[in-house]
């Protein structure tokens, strides 16, 4: 068992995950196997959000991955040399896309597994962002525990896109989380609703030094001195190697985690239909 209590702190969830799952209504599971770019996946979550807001879909749980790229936040896009940074990073193989959720720059790529929860806003209104983070974190914690990794919520100084609701292992960030509560998305036939998107990115077999350097370079080019410390990060593969577990190569580990995540989500969100 790999313990991860360092840096963690107890966070009261407010409405428990089980209650929030029920309150959100029916769920469907979407194992999205398409491998697209960062921009396309941001757009895909938005399209699913629109469908959920309009009642065309129930609440959605989407599992996905994408090509290498960098997603950045609203405030990042206002940096003095943002366009220059975006062009330069894209030329280096890190296309930049604006994220819908809150937060700062985050490197994505094939070694990262993503979980998006998309719920009708009308069903979640009145709940706290804390409760939604707990809903999102629960399947990830169960998944990680299944491979012997104990992860808790906690901020990690020096990590990219740091926040209280990172999942961390012994003071190293292993997953980032963020939310978007969109309003007025669907306005037709007497229906008016939005959606809540809760997104988690789990580093499974990410090259942490390379990813951290991309974030540091982006900010340097964009006009803000912000260094991302690779020692503030870890991945599932890194933790397993620390524990002496060496039988999984990167691709094998991603496939294993993906199939286990599907099983975990089915159990957590049951009953669930599948897209």
């Amino acid at each position: 068992m790999i313990a991860g209590a360092g840096g963690a702190h107890p966070v009261e969830p407010g409405l428990p995950p089980r209650r929030l799952r029920e309150q959100a209504g029916d769920w469907c599971l979407f194992d999205d196997q398409r491998l697209d770019g960062v921009q396309e996946n941001v757009a895909r979550d938005a399209r699913l959000g629109h469908a959920v807001a309009c009642g065309e879909l129930p609440a959605v749980c989407r599992l996905w991955h994408n090509h290498q790229g960098l997603i950045v936040g609203r405030h990042d896009a206002r940096l003095p040399a943002f366009q220059h940074a975006a062009r330069t990073l894209a030329a280096r193989g890190w296309p930049v896309a604006l994220r819908e959720t809150g937060g700062a720059a985050v490197p994505q790529g094939p070694g990262v597994l993503h979980l998006s929860l998309i719920m009708p806003r009308s069903r979640v209104e009145g709940c706290s962002t804390d409760a939604v983070y707990h809903l999102l974190g629960e399947p990830l914690q169960i998944l990680l525990a299944g491979v012997g990794i104990v992860a808790g919520f906690g901020a990690v100084p020096g990590a990219f896109c740091d926040g209280r609701f990172n999942l961390q292992v012994a003071g190293r960030k292993i997953a980032g989380t963020a939310q978007a509560w969109r309003a007025g998305v669907c306005q037709r036939q007497g229906r008016r609703d939005g959606y809540v998107l809760a997104h988690a990115a789990l580093a499974v077999a990410q090259d942490v030094p390379v990813a951290a350097a991309a974030v540091t370079d982006f900010y340097a080019l964009a006009g803000r001195a912000q260094v991302c410390d690779p020692r503030a990060h870890t991945s599932v593969r890194d933790e397993l190697l620390r524990a002496g577990v060496v039988e999984y190569g990167p691709d094998g580990l991603i496939n294993l985690l993906r199939s286990r995540m599907m099983a975990t989500v089915r159990a957590c969100f049951s009953p669930v239909t599948e897209l």
Binding site: E125, S128, V132, R164, Q179
Partner: protein
């Protein structure tokens, strides 16, 4: 006059005291429809759209980059007749 308010229970202020008005989508004095998305609040990597509670003319109280707490009034709307 109808207040434009940050929801009371949106986040736990015992741990994170403040959020911030990230941006306004309308200028001071603009006419808005009920339900229009007026502004975005950012707290702990969560973006939250604030809707107009009524139609009318918008008065901005908390400019962009102003820190706010749950329940804060960030603007008001002079209701249309």
């Amino acid at each position: 006059m109808t207040a434009v308010r940050v929801p009371e229970e949106l986040w736990d202020t015992r741990v994170v005291p403040q959020g911030v008005v990230s941006s306004w989508y309308y200028d001071e004095g603009a006419r808005v429809e009920a339900g229009a998305v007026l502004a975005v609040i950012m707290v702990e990597k969560s973006e939250y759209d604030i809707e107009a509670p009524a139609a009318g003319r918008l008065h901005i109280i908390a400019d962009a980059n102003t820190t706010v707490v749950p329940g804060a009034v960030i603007g008001d709307i002079a209701n249309s007749q």
